[in-house]
């Protein structure tokens, strides 16, 4: 059982999926860090991204232009996120801060159910696949679907772009400042609602991007966002809510633990290993690996 080749293959597979998990979780943690609310419908934005990718590839662009469809799908989810923030979330933020969490939870859970039912109603319960013409790629001893390698590379590029925007652009400065003090940025003259809108759009677009990238790998169906919801929140707890490096490291960690556990302990409990890690972290470090204990209002 413990052949070196199998170990190496399992580690490669775990890291690959871990980076994609991180992409799914990043949006949750990013939106939380700016808006101090949890978007429970994150998985449904992943789902929308995957359907957009399928629709673009299958009906409009064809499988050779899949790479063009990916930014379009992510942009579509971004635009939808702007509309959701403007129509559903902005009114919540006029209420006193104590009530926001509860309202945000109710609104985003309702959105989750609505979007899922809508997907079933519009496209049916069956799964679709946009297909992929990419050849299988050997990564060391590990054969990997071209689409999965492409997803990995795109995900890394998106994470790098996201980091640079946050680090080096004026808007990144405003976003980071907002995550430190919502009152402070308003005093400085920054429209915090505008920042919220962009943050929500970008956050859900990250999930939408993951959905578009993984559409040929994990298929397209109404409840495919469940993986984002489940893994995303596990990662957020492991890495620390609101921590972006935490999301990246926890994503890879989760991918590795699941892969190794499934390969070398018992494959039936693949999902359990992640939960065990979550429980361990909650006991040892309740704020997660990189979580902050508190912050200025």
């Amino acid at each position: 059982m413990f052949s070196t080749e199998l170990v190496v293959q399992t580690v490669i597979s775990g890291v690959m999926i871990g980076v994609l998990y991180a992409l799914m979780a990043l949006g949750i943690t990013f939106i939380y860090s700016i808006m101090r609310m949890i978007n429970w419908a994150m998985g449904e934005f992943y789902m929308i991204g995957s359907y957009l990718q399928y629709a673009l590839v299958a009906l409009l662009l064809g499988p050779d232009l899949w790479w063009l469809a990916i930014p379009i799908s992510a942009a579509g989810v971004f635009a939808f996120g702007l509309v959701v923030q403007w129509s559903l979330l902005k009114p919540i933020f006029r209420k006193p801060p104590e009530a926001r969490d509860d309202y945000a939870t109710v609104v985003t859970l309702a959105l989750l159910l609505l979007l899922r039912s809508l997907a079933t109603g519009l496209a049916g319960p069956n799964q679709f696949s946009p297909g992929s013409n990419l050849p299988v790629v050997m990564v060391g001893p590990m054969p990997l679907a071209g689409a999965r390698v492409a997803a990995f590379v795109f995900a890394l590029a998106a994470l790098a772009l996201f980091y640079c925007l946050l680090r080096y652009s004026w808007y990144g400065l405003a976003l980071r400042a907002t995550s430190q003090s919502r009152i402070g940025v308003q005093t400085a003259g920054i429209d915090v609602q505008g920042v919220d809108r962009i943050a929500f759009g970008v956050g859900v677009a990250l999930a939408g991007l993951a959905g578009a990238l993984l559409a040929p790998v994990f298929l397209v169906y109404p409840t495919n966002g469940l993986i984002t919801t489940v893994k995303g929140f596990e990662i957020v707890v492991i890495g620390g809510l609101g921590s972006i490096p935490g999301a990246l490291i926890a994503g890879v960690l989760l991918g590795l633990i699941e892969s190794l556990g499934a390969a070398f302990i018992d494959s039936a409990y693949q999902n359990i290993y992640g939960f065990a890690l979550v429980l361990l972290i909650l006991v040892l470090r309740p704020t997660g690996l990189f979580g902050e204990r508190g912050r200025e209002a």
């Binding site: 080749e5 399992t10 597979s13 696949s129 994990f218 390969a263």
Partner: protein
Amino acid sequence: MRGRRFSTGISLGFLLAGTIAAGVLASGLPAQAQDIGIGLVVPLSPPGDPVGGQLIRRGAELGVETVNAAGGVLGGRKFKLYVEDSQGKPEAGVAAYRRLVSENKVAVVPGFFHSSVAIAANEVANEMGVPTMALQASAAEITSKHYEVAFRTHVVDPVRVSAFMEFIKQKGFKRVSMIAETTDYGIGIADETIAQAKKAGGVEIQKVPFDRTVTDLTPQLLQIKAFKPDLVINIGVGQPLDLIIDQATTIGLLPTTPMLISYDAPVRPQYWKLHPKNGAGLYFIAYFSPKAPLSDIGTAFSKAYVEKYKEDPVYGALNGFGAIAIIAQAINAAKSTDSKALIKTLETGTFKSWPSNPVTFPRASGVYWHNWSAPVLILHYTKPMEDWKEAEVAVQYAPVVPKD
């Protein structure tokens, strides 16, 4: 659960009885004294599966026409079919059974697509005495309770597994991996396979279970690849089944290692849309193929069906027709429509249905009690985008009822 099902079943039943029976009775002609009533309980509206119900109904209706055109039974008495909608709901199915027996005085109640409906109806049938015949419900409980009234003409899981074993034997496979979802279905089939393989001997089996909600099955498939099997049995249902095919292709398990799918999902049009390139070469369980031989009455029925509906009959329709044919033969043999006589005749006699294997309902052990099924097929897609009707029949396994 059962208590609640029954109380709501009865109260809802009375409510539904008014609405549904009014429609059925208004449309049907008054039964003539010498006519023999046959009930049919099938799902015709959601949350049931209306397509599944409709196919059975078509077959049964054509079956009744055939019997009546040939002069009926017992020297000239005609069949009259009473169709009831179970909506896939146990309580509606129970109410339908009660109505058919007490108002329409039917001799037999075939039908039953959803297992839950068949199980609930059998509880009432056990008291009221008129036999049921489950045509497309596979839960073990339907026959394993050994009710006098409960009959079935559908593939039960041990038969499915026997077909796997037949296939393994024919191909001479020595190492077999199973990737099985951790559901009653997946684990049930995997464990049955292990048990039958142990009995047969000479085959090494690897069981790799997975949780249905997991989407990345690479770790499981890597383990399978490391086992170097001659055959992989894919025991996923729905989306995991498709993920397994794709991810096995990626890591190079497919197409070099043959894969067998545990049910007939690949006959659906969706299959080739999802696997245009890697769907070829796979084997899958099916209950019917136009390439498999039919009996003489099956051939005649198929012709009549094509004429009437402009399409080939599929398993549901064939089984609907077969039930009527079996019932007609049993009534003739019993020379009576009395329930007790009919049950006795069904248990002891040999009948003819749409496939070539003879129909019997022996008082056998376990799920084989009162259970007959058409031969189980293993079909093989030999080229991409192949029509399932053209698929090669790799195995045709006629179930052998184990002797006590």
